[in-house]
């Protein structure tokens, strides 16, 4: 659609600008401010330059958290994307079955994040949980409160359970957008199911899958509430992801300087992925924005 050229449109954007300025720009400026000062009290601040950044960048616990985070986010993508595409392809395309499937699939997405954690505590505890009890009954000792590996697996399972539906929804929307004529042509050519998938469905889903990969990567990068409720970052530090470590640093230990410097680095990483995401959106979007 062709657009009118008019800078007066800014007046309509001003309310949004003001609201987001209060909730984003001012706080971000405060963070920058903290990250270059050592604060002992309201009137007792020392300019320290990049000292906090150096300290944070050489913090081994942060390195561990980052490695854990990257491993976690990669695993999340490796499991959720193929699984999500598979389920989207299994779902009926129309009729009451399609509506029912959509509603059921979306259910986990509508649950408050901390309640997700609660659900999984109840579900996986060895004494009262179905999952924990079942695994133990199979002769495999499982206790996510004590064994780091078990805790890890539980958080990963929870994440897959919680967010695969998002990939399903996106992939399903992508599949729905393919005109029926493509499938008719494939049938006439006698294409196998695999060939139809490989040469029609997968290429047509490229746009939405790019969105799915980036969204999942970013959101899993920011994961906080679910593991916080489920494991609190433990046992030890085995499930301390970046957000959890940051909140521990900022609220738990009240190390404002390092926490702020850490925030800035964290924010820049996310911003980079966000930019990639935006580029991907423009490619699949309404054309006139690209």
């Amino acid at each position: 659609m062709k657009k009118w050229e008019d800078n007066k449109a800014w007046f309509m954007v001003i309310p949004v600008f003001l609201v987001v300025a209060v909730s984003a720009i001012l706080p971000l400026m405060t963070v920058v401010n903290y990250s270059i000062q050592d604060i002992f009290g309201p009137d007792n601040r020392v300019f320290v330059g990049l000292e906090w950044y150096q300290e944070v960048l050489s913090d081994t616990r942060l390195h561990d958290a980052l490695k854990r985070q990257l491993l976690f986010s990669s695993l999340v993508l490796l499991i959720e994307i193929p699984l999500g595409v598979l389920i989207a392809m299994l779902m009926p395309k129309r009729g009451w079955g399609a509506s029912l499937s959509l509603v059921l699939v979306a259910l986990p997405l509508l649950i408050p994040w901390n309640v997700i954690g609660t659900i999984w505590i109840i579900f996986t505890r060895p004494d009262i949980g179905l999952f924990g009890a079942a695994i133990n009954a199979l002769g495999v000792p499982f206790d996510h409160t004590a064994a780091p590996f078990d805790a890890w697996v539980t958080v990963l399972l929870m994440e897959v359970w919680h967010w695969t539906p998002l990939v399903v929804l996106l992939a399903y929307a992508g599949l729905q957008a393919i005109p029926e004529a493509y499938f008719q042509a494939a049938r006439i050519d006698g294409a196998s199911t695999w060939a139809t998938f490989r040469y029609i469905q997968l290429p047509k889903m490229r746009g939405v899958l790019t969105i799915a990969v980036l969204l999942r990567f970013m959101d899993s990068f920011l994961i906080y509430a679910e593991p916080f409720v489920l494991t609190g970052g433990g046992p030890g530090n085995s499930t301390t992801f970046l957000s959890i470590y940051l909140v521990k640093l900022a609220v738990g230990q009240f190390d404002l300087g390092p926490a702020a410097a850490f925030s800035m680095i964290y924010f820049l990483i996310v911003l980079l992925f966000c930019w990639l995401f935006y580029q991907a959106l423009l490619k699949v979007g309404t054309g006139d924005k690209s």
Binding site: M1, D6, K8, A9, P15, V16, F17, V19, V20, A24, L28, M29, V31, L90, S99, L102, V103, L104, V105, A106, L107, L109, L110, I111, P112, W113, V115, T118, I119, I121, I122, F123, I128, L130, F131, W161, P165, L169, L170, A173, G174, V208, A212, L215, L222, Y224, F228, V229, S243, L246, A250, V251, S263, F273, C274, W275, F277, Y278, L281, G285
Partner: protein
């Protein structure tokens, strides 16, 4: 035969999907003593005791009221500010429009943990800590950009000729916007309201940090129960089930727009 196999696989997935939720429902219908004593796949003596406690104990039900209060406030703020902005983005080309759009998106993606500390400081300065308004405003960080994005998508679907016709017919802009344009995109407004509601409803970190007692959300009430010793699983499960209800009630109406909302209005 092939269709049969597909259906079976899908049903297995749905069972796995619903199992954890079912388990919580199971727990919520049993007393704590019963839960700890016997391991059972279904409530043998179903009781609504836990739900009754939540509806009668002020420390519990006030959590729900607080959450509903600040979530509604947030939805209203988000919609009112986002409607004109989305119209501007969908109809006009202006200085810095693309940069502005990206900047909005980047806020939707910003880690709330990063903003935690400054929010706390900022709202303390203005004496807003522990008010519903503080939480509603902080949730604008991700909901206003989201609202702009979804609404812009819907508005771009309305042909520009409609605007031109209305102006030729002598409508003023406010009258056109309220009586002609807004009804045309009412689906979009409904979908936007749903997603703002949802994302504000599920957020915990900011809501928990910015409140202490007067505006404490149900999510915080629940986490504080977890940390207490000798916690009541049945009660916790019942509280959890109640948080799922609002989303489950309206999801049917937005089922065809779910992908759009979760992918920021671009699918």
């Amino acid at each position: 035969m092939k269709i049969q196999k597909r259906t079976v696989a899908l049903i297995i997935y749905f069972i796995l999907l619903l199992l954890p939720i079912y388990w919580m429902l199971n727990m919520s219908l049993r007393t704590n003593a019963d839960i700890l004593k016997v391991f059972s796949f279904y409530p043998q003596e179903p009781t609504f005791e836990n739900y009754l406690k939540i509806f009668t104990d002020k420390s519990w039900y006030s959590g729900y009221l607080n959450t509903i209060y600040y979530v509604s406030m947030n939805v209203v703020i988000s919609l009112v500010t986002a409607l004109p902005a989305a119209y501007a983005f969908s109809r006009y080309r202006f200085l810095g429009d693309k940069h502005m759009f990206f900047w909005l998106l980047s806020n939707r993606m910003a880690p709330p943990a990063v903003f935690l500390l400054p929010f706390f400081q900022l709202y303390s300065t203005f004496g807003l800590i522990d008010t519903h308004f503080a939480v509603a405003l902080s949730h604008c960080l991700f909901n206003v950009p989201l609202a702009v994005w979804i609404l812009e998508g819907f508005m771009s679907g309305v042909p520009r000729e409609i605007d031109e016709m209305a102006y030729i017919d002598g409508y003023s802009f406010p009258r056109f916007f309220l009586t002609v344009f807004t009804p045309l995109i009412r689906t979009g407004i409904g979908v936007t309201a749903f997603f703002c509601f949802m994302f504000s409803w599920v957020e915990l970190l900011l809501a928990r940090t910015l409140t202490t007692t007067a505006a404490k959300p149900i999510a915080a009430t629940m986490t504080r129960t977890v940390s207490a010793s000798g916690l009541d699983w049945g009660l916790l499960a019942a509280a959890g089930i109640l948080t799922i209800v609002p989303g489950a009630l309206v999801i049917y109406f937005v089922r065809n727009h779910l992908a759009k909302g979760f992918a920021l209005g671009r699918v």
